[in-house]
Subunit: 199 residues, 2 copies
């Protein structure tokens, strides 16, 4: 299983944003929509072996949406369709337990610490994708026996508190290259590297 975690620091936790202006009304939920597309969408299908956590911090309480490739339905590659699916998830009355919104999409209250707790239970190898991390080629040095989880920030990066949380969870800071890319483009490259066994 490949796991991607994207933190949206201003991403709305409410469904009352406009599909006609997603970037301007949702706290840049568009970044998370494109990350979902990058994680799952193939030319003719959906990656079944992918799990995505979206951490939405633009409301109180914060919420987390989980998307599971195995059962995910109704996903198209455009921003708007994904935003409409997330809107449905945000309309669910979220509790600290997962509630299903549509097939393969689940929501609960909670932030990054909750996601890291889930990942700890799965014993994943935790990678924090960060511009000034170690060169990604260092990942080749170890056999990939464990599931891998990649944590990414949105356009604002990660806070000091989140970085401390990631460090205490044992996350390895890894950089994908010399150019600063959007979160969704980092996910495309990571998927491709894993597909081609380049890491």
């Amino acid at each position: 299983m490949r796991i991607f975690v994207v933190v949206g620091h201003k991403a709305t936790t409410q469904p009352n944003f406009s599909l006609e202006d997603i970037p301007g009304t949702s706290g840049r939920l568009d970044i998370l929509c494109r990350s979902v597309t990058a994680a799952f969408v193939l030319s003719h299908g959906i990656r079944k072996d992918v799990l995505v956590y979206l951490v939405l911090l633009g409301g109180e309480p914060p919420k987390t949406i989980r998307l599971a490739g195995e059962t995910l339905r109704h996903l198209n590659p455009d921003d708007r369709t994904t935003a409409a699916l997330l809107k449905k998830a945000l309309a669910v009355d979220a509790t600290p337990e997962w509630s299903m919104s549509t097939s393969g999409i689940f929501v609960r209250t909670g932030d990054l610490s909750g996601v890291l707790e889930d990942l700890r239970e799965r014993s994943v190898r935790l990678i924090y994708l960060k511009e000034d991390g170690k060169d990604y080629r260092c990942l080749r040095d170890e056999p990939l026996e464990r599931e891998m989880a990649f944590v990414l920030g949105d356009h604002t990066g990660m806070t000091v508190e989140e970085e401390a949380l990631l460090a205490s969870a044992g996350a390895e800071p890894i950089a994908l290259g010399p150019t600063s890319l959007h979160a969704d483009h980092c996910i495309v490259v990571t998927n491709w590297l894993l597909d081609t066994s380049a890491i």
Copy 2:
């Protein structure tokens, strides 16, 4: 300069599509919009050294839109903003000569053969990104002295006639890996490979 050419076989040549349903009303212009984002958008800026040709074949006469990173303005990473820019370009009264729509965006009538003629004049190295092409690593064997142009199809691939045209223009069929990816994701990977000097 990095050049990307994307052929949209059903992509509308008229501006009367709906920004509320881009995939359903524009002949999948959304694929071309995401290709534009993939080609140009960095985390904090626009790639100046990129040129994109969009070949729109879903109308008569066909049209080609050219986007030049050096002067490109108003580009945001969401589908809708890009579609709005293309809509403006399609509202221009196109002729066989380039007309500017907005800063860095030009339009003319013509199809893939016209683009290949332009590229021939620039003496670019022409790569046709194709699932069953040669492994991309073969590009490492030659020094990259020339500009490179990468030609991609949309969700329907290329026609036999287009493949013949590409072959006679000397295009090398190259595959990026074992997984069939969307055009925009291929562009993300190609940009990343060039950024990291992996090709």
